[in-house]
Amino acid sequence: MSALSDLLGDVVSDVESVFLFSPSSSHYERFADADLDEQVVVVAPENDVDAETYVELPLEFDNIRDRIKFGVEGALERGFVEEGDVVTCSVRIFDGDPDGVVRVRVEEAMRSGIYDLFANSRADPSVIRDVFEVAIELGKKGQKGKPVGALFVVGDAGKVMNKSRPLSYNPFEKSHVHVGDPIVNVMLKEFSRLDGAFVISDSGKLVSAYRYLEPAAEGVDIPKGLGARHMAGAAITRDTNATAIVLSESDGLVRAFKSGQIILEIDPEEY
């Protein structure tokens, strides 16, 4: 028995903070009331428990490594932890109650930019999350079973509209629909067969589809092998403060660009 508690003791000894991933309120209160020396950080999609130190988790990462990395990166950005700190994370690996405790050392290399993408983009984090969800779902299922590509330009819509031109009539003309509505997600999937980009405003309004982006592309550095869609997406983010979320037709990956740089690459099958 003592070997078992030693096992857990080794994991939780000498840590600076405890990260609770999506805790239930009773679970959180047990930690909050215990008056620990360690700082308690809540990482969850919504701050249901009214925690003071809270990191928003925009996507329910299925992969535990990604989820922990995102939480730690968010805490790093917000100054809850610093490099060299050791934290312990209480996570849910399988369904149900939290069933895993993980010890992590905070390193500078953990700044991958995912947190920055959500927290410091011009558009609302929830809008970026909704667009990501549409792109991921589209990547998983494709359009009528066939792989499909799509380009979403999110935020700074006024400037993006000025640096692009319509390829055909805008199906969203005079409509006031926002991403995140289930019906709009279906519309987006249907319209993904159209060529061109979707333009989405800071608050999530669908401004236009069928847009041909005309940014200046010089100096845009994206990995070799990506096509015109990625190049256009990357270039528009260099010219404006927008974020581009691109679903590749050929390899099915979802990539995000900001300031002309690729900052995130995820496989839809993992979410």
């Binding site: 819509a157 006024g158 400037k159 509209m161 000025n162 005079k174 405003s201 800071d202 309004k205 401004v207």
Partner: protein, 291 residues
């Protein structure tokens, strides 16, 4: 409350104020021996039989309608809707629930009506005018109590709902709004209940009118700008004289439209973002710059 208890209480209650022969005969009929039924039937006056039927029927109706009310309220989802209100919690402490209380109230009401019906059938003339007035007063009292209970429960529920809506606003003073809503509902419920009982409530009604007038006036003054912007914004959203991406000038502010919503228009120009109320868009007019 079981059926036997109810019969017992009503029978004895019915017997109490009556004349001597009624009070003696009623318990006797309850212990009738079945073998000598025809003799007894002949011996007992008709009025007493009628009274007995009314007692039995009334008690049955009370039990039936009481549980029917409870079930109906449960079926309508009332217990879930009022979960967590102060009245419900108080009821829980006495190991009952609001729905049960209302059911019991209906039971007592019907038992009371039965009791009065028995009195009238048994031709009891003692204090006739007192009983007549009681007959008139009883339904009013019943409705007053029901209105009061409903008012308290609804007020509590509104307190909870408004409070929940405002949880996002982390401001200590915000607590006044749910309480204001709750006490307004309480006040109206008390007012209705009192007028149901025939108490003079004119002064209270005047007070309510003044309070509501002040509330409406203050809200209208406070929200006038928002209302104006909202009206202008609905026109802008419906007709879209300018849309996202257009370059416009509104008064001194010139730039690219980034966002149009019901109340404001965001216009951005070289890192400066103007958030212009839509009422101003109408007041000043818009210049669309075409190039």
């Amino acid at each position: 409350m079981t059926g036997h208890e109810a019969v017992g209480t009503v029978a004895s209650a019915a017997a109490l104020p009556g004349s001597d022969d009624v009070s003696l005969l009623l318990p006797a009929t309850l212990q009738v021996d079945l073998g000598r039924l025809p003799d007894v039937f002949g011996a007992v006056p008709r009025g007493v039989w009628a009274a007995l039927f009314i007692v039995v029927g009334g008690v049955l109706a009370a039990l039936l309608l009481g549980s029917l009310t409870t079930r109906l309220l449960v079926r309508l989802g009332v217990p879930e809707a009022i979960e967590g209100t102060a009245f419900e919690r108080a009821a829980r402490e006495f190991e009952t629930s609001t729905v049960e209380v209302l059911g019991t109230l209906v039971r007592f009401f019907i038992l009371g009506v039965t009791f009065l019906a028995v009195l009238s059938v048994a031709n009891i003339t003692v204090a006739a005018s007192f009983w007549r007035r009681t007959v008139e007063f009883l339904p009013q009292l019943f409705f007053a109590i029901v209105i009061l209970i409903v008012g308290v429960v609804v007020g509590d529920k509104i307190h909870l709902v408004v409070g929940e809506r405002l949880t996002g606003v982390k401001l200590p003073q915000i607590g006044i709004f749910p309480r204001l809503a709750k006490f307004t509902v309480f006040y109206v419920a008390i007012l209705v209940a009192l007028s149901q009982l025939g108490v003079a409530t004119l002064a209270l009604v005047v007070l309510l009118a003044v309070y509501l007038f002040a509330l409406v006036l203050l809200t209208a003054i406070a929200l006038s700008d928002l209302l104006k912007s909202g009206a202008a914004g609905s026109y802008l959203l419906l007709n879209q004289p300018y849309s996202i991406g257009d370059e416009v000038a509104i008064g001194e502010r010139r730039g690219i439209v980034q966002e149009v919503n019901l109340f404001v228009t965001h216009v951005e120009n070289n890192g400066e973002e103007f958030i212009v109320p839509n009422s101003l868009v109408f007041a000043e007019g818009v210049v669309r710059i075409r190039n």
